[in-house]
Amino acid sequence: MNWRAVGVTALAVALTVPFALPFAYLLVRNAQDLGGLWGALSDDRLLGPLFRSLLLGVSVALGAAVLGTLAAWLVARTNLRARRAWALLLCLPLVIPSFVGAVALIAAFAPGGLVEQVLGIGWLPEVSGFNGAFVVLTLLTYPYVFLLVMARLRSLPPSLEESARMLGRRPLQVFVSVVLPQARAAVAAGALLVFLYVISDFGAVQLLRYDTLTRAIYSDRLLDPITSIALSLVLGVIAVAVVAMERRSSRVGLRDQSRAGTALEVPLGAWRAPAYLFLVLLIGFSLVAPIAVLAFWAIRGLANGSADSASVVADPTLIVQPLLSTAGISVVTALVAVLIVLPIAYRSVRRPGRLGEVLAGTVVGGFALPGLVTALAFVFFTLSTPGPLGALYQTLPLLVLAYVVHHGALALGAAQSAVAGVPARLDDAARIMGRSRVRRFLGVELPLMLPGLAAGAGLVLLSTAKELPATLLLAPPGFTTLAIEVWQAAELAAYEEAAIFALVLVAISAVLTWFLVVRPALRSWSTPVSGSSPSVADSPVSSAHPEVTAP
């Protein structure tokens, strides 16, 4: 009997328990009150929001699939100029959290906003509701499809398309009959991710007042907790099912190791100008416009000042406190997440098998559950549990725990790659030289894993910094992050304030995204090697992209 191996296994299992907690809690609570569950499920308190969630999810997924696939094809396969630069710009909307996008849209069309003042358009359309949510979410989520399809196109052997051309087919026919079928799995995976993002989204639909499940769960939580808990379970089941589907589909389609190379460029001819126009408009509306709107409000606010001395507009140093809180809690969460998932990653990689899969799957399940649902489960769990657990309600440790449960999978994916990257033979070599187990781990394996673990921690950091609903529900009174500040200001229609906080948040997120997501992806695109880009392929939801849960 190898007691050390048993110890690692026991530790990994114990550390996985918190990840299963929210979902388990929802199941138990609903099972205890089947009458309440049935009541909530059988009338239109459920059906309306459910329908709207699905409608929005499907519409945005389709929209993002079309935009993302078209953009990827233009950048990967045509004779447009500066294609690397376009690729970079097309990823950048990832840095804008959905609630910031919603704030920008609302602020743009608000009285006195950019549209009225600068463009001089007197008639302001109604931006809330389905249309606003659809536009904001589609423009912010197409990069998920873009990245996955791009990676897939890069990994396709050029000889496939070349063969089709040599057999007499024109470029458009080749795209339809050869490229699309090969990219289908990537498009589908991207669309599923977008769907998950949309049904999990809370910030944008709440600000734009479109009554989806998340909005109903949030508004019912105080007065009608039974409905809130029932709807949470429904949403949780859908989300977990989507992730399970995504993992299965991408396992089939995306992993073939083909010899990549430089693909044939399709000359666009007369379509060149429309193609550039499409890319300019896409980047303009998804990236430039939101930032321009926020900058407009922020600059005007700072120039005019404010009568309210407690406002950041009057006293820009007020940005410091939420900035430090955001940084602090994100760093702590990232470190805790890596510590917690490392044993799980170690166990699941070094001793592959059923148990390892279940452990990793549970962590990914925590990731699949929308942030709002995870947070709400922790709220109800602590409020209904007496004793020390109950005392955790609205404390920083519980907030960190909720973050870790929700974002841990990001670190797990990176940690698994890191562990797998250290050949087990290395450990054997150190063992032969007589090193003890602990010294072998600390001296040989850990230093090799460190870069991978740091990348995982970085992804958790990025997602935590942008997190809204969990913070909203679980933060101790008086503890505010940048996201909370944006949110509160936006709800009060204080767009100058909201814009300042939002710009700072976007800037932080941009820096982190650049180093953690975009740069690795671009690097893998510039070297024509096999397989898809690692930063894209190794994220938790198989091929998923990191910030998928931080709407």
Partner: protein
Amino acid sequence: METLPPHVEMCPAVPTRSDPRGSALTVHGLERVLGNRPVLRGIDLDVPAGTVLALLGPSGCGKTTLLRCIAGLDRPDSGLVVVDDFTVSGPECFVNPEKRRIGMVFQEPALFPNRTVGGNVGYGLPRAERGGPRVERALALVGLTGTGDRMPSTLSGGQQQRVALARALAAEPSLILLDEPFSALDAPLRAELRGEVRRLLAAAGATAVFVTHDQEEAFLIGDQVALMLEGRIAQVGTPDDLYERPASRQVATFVGDANLLPAEAEGDVALTPVGRVPLARPAHGRVEVVIRPECIAACKGGDSIVERIEYYGHDAVIVTSSRGCPVRCRVMGRPPFDAGDRIGLEYVGEPSVAFSP
């Protein structure tokens, strides 16, 4: 006045009626620079209809680049490509690859994974014929009758490559290009397919350019062999021409094993360290003579000392030296000598060629 075949419509310039000898492919003065490096430096080629040209050359000499320029997958910087008497690539004209009616087989099978074998083979045919007898016929030609409904991934590597060949042949192209089609396969399968492809191309009456860096393969498959070195065609001719009458020292050393021995030429004989060697082309003065190792006979007793024996089974090479020159001498089976023995060498081959040193 003939009407132009449809594939020339894309060509902005009037197609040139080139030489009337019935060449299926003519390449003239082709140049291509890739990343500041001249990769093709003035290629001239001529492939008569119905023959196979084997394009032989070391790795990186530009074979693939040349093939891609012929196919239209790459655009040459200057020079002409004429297929079936129509210029498909020239100074003011470039016909897109899908309009050239050229078949191509790549190093990897490049089968469309989402289509059946039959779907792959029929891909280049007009819509009405995609499920029809032409597909079956092409599959029968490569010996894969009845596999039409299978998916490509269920076939072995060699079978997949044969499907790729069937796919290229099914459209009955005027020219078919093969870029090291067997290099991803293992040796026995390669040898088997080599013979088969030769028979196939002959049966289909196809004109083909077959790229390889393997000399045996080039000699077996090519009616003509073109040796390409550093972006230039060093020599074109029958396998016999290249082996027996190499045009330069580089050709002699690249094609097969060769001793290059210093000699004194006197018209149609040369005095070499292995004796008198007849010359195919008269020469005078100090030269280097190309002597194939199998053209030297060794006998017991003489003034050369055996350094070592390289034993290959069916034959062996005696490594020795004669008057200070290293000499390799090939004999069938195991030679009756050992290292250290004294042997005599004698030239026993056909007239050879000499180059000035």
